[in-house]
Assembly symmetry: C2
Amino acid sequence: MTVRRIETVIVADDHPLFRQGMRHIAERLYPQARVREADTMDEVLDLARAAPPQAVFLDLLFPGLDPQRSIRALREEFPKTSIIVVSMIEDEALIRTVMEEGADGFIAKSLPAAEIAVAITAVRDGEFVIRRNPRTDLVVSQPGLPPLTQRQRDVLRLVAQGRTNKEIARELDISPFTVRIHVSALLRALDVTSRAAAAAKAAHAGLGGLIGA
Amino acid sequence: MTVRRIETVIVADDHPLFRQGMRHIAERLYPQARVREADTMDEVLDLARAAPPQAVFLDLLFPGLDPQRSIRALREEFPKTSIIVVSMIEDEALIRTVMEEGADGFIAKSLPAAEIAVAITAVRDGEFVIRRNPRTDLVVSQPGLPPLTQRQRDVLRLVAQGRTNKEIARELDISPFTVRIHVSALLRALDVTSRAAAAAKAAHAGLGGLIGA
DNA sequence: TGCCTCATAGGACATATGCACTAGTAGACC
DNA sequence: GGTCTACTAGTGCATATGTCCTATGAGGCA
């Protein structure tokens, strides 16, 4: 995937200190970009509509905000924007939910700045990224998915939810033929030969799948 | 699924105290059953071959034992036995792995006896069961799968790994036609209409899918 | 300008999948 | 013995899926 030039970035967080930190990271990564800061979800939407951002860094605990709906709404209105959720909470179910709702990356606030920057770059390169604080007990290998185009990520999300090509076509408002193209490319990229296997890989990588209680 | 009478149970754990506790639970649940105790994996196999058990309670940290291979071997040799893994460790990746290798249930050792008994009954009723110690922070709803027959669980495991009907047929050593029967019944039971959706449901229920480090 | 990738849309074709039937065998239950 | 379910195996058929092909427009890059 050709990485499009970053022109506008929105940092949405109600903690001034953290917002400053994120701005700093964004400015280091993309010196030419304009970084906007937002205090509320409405402000995010206003800023985004005024100048569609290439990336949004969204605090999960945004004041009076329902993460699910907001992320889905953002994804629908700005399909090409990298939505990166940054959060204090590292609960798995929440992570899976926001990823399924359309986020491209989930980054724990507790990570060092350098790691956050790396994760952001990976997302811009087409990867789904989930970075939590390293746990001390058991080290688990994170399978990870290869870089995918935005459309491939959209499609994978839906395939991993068990949708058919027709349903995906309706959801993304494109032709079923086009969906097949994306699915084919996706299967090649994931090195599998069936959508069910793709769903399994997605589950292993952190999209979908959840152990509860 | 008709619950077959429990005649023989094997408790495999190298902690005598815990083994006693498990024996107690088993005897309360199935007064008529013979409960065997095993110290090593070889002993488990010897006992099982002498008298095929309806249920095996297996300590995950068995001396010098590779959980993956042992569980898969047990499952292959005794396809109808309920394999219930009981463990000190509650690491998710480990749980998913043992469930994928053929276990029917995973139960944390830290749970009270009553809950362990309930979980065992549910497994015997055809459910996949994963019970960890309740965490205090965020309560997550565990989707849970409806009761399935042993064959349906076998098939679901493989579907959730992205296998095709042919592959499943080879793996289970039955006809592809028969696999289709099981898949059809499975889809009905899960209330979905495609294997990919079934895989997604399985992922949500704790089979497959893993968020790492 | 030319070259590239990505997203879009469609045709053709082989295979896989899912469903609706029939049917035999084995075990559990009454 | 009669009845029930699970597991097995098959046929037939409609639809879904996946691959290979062509083709167009947008946008980035050299």
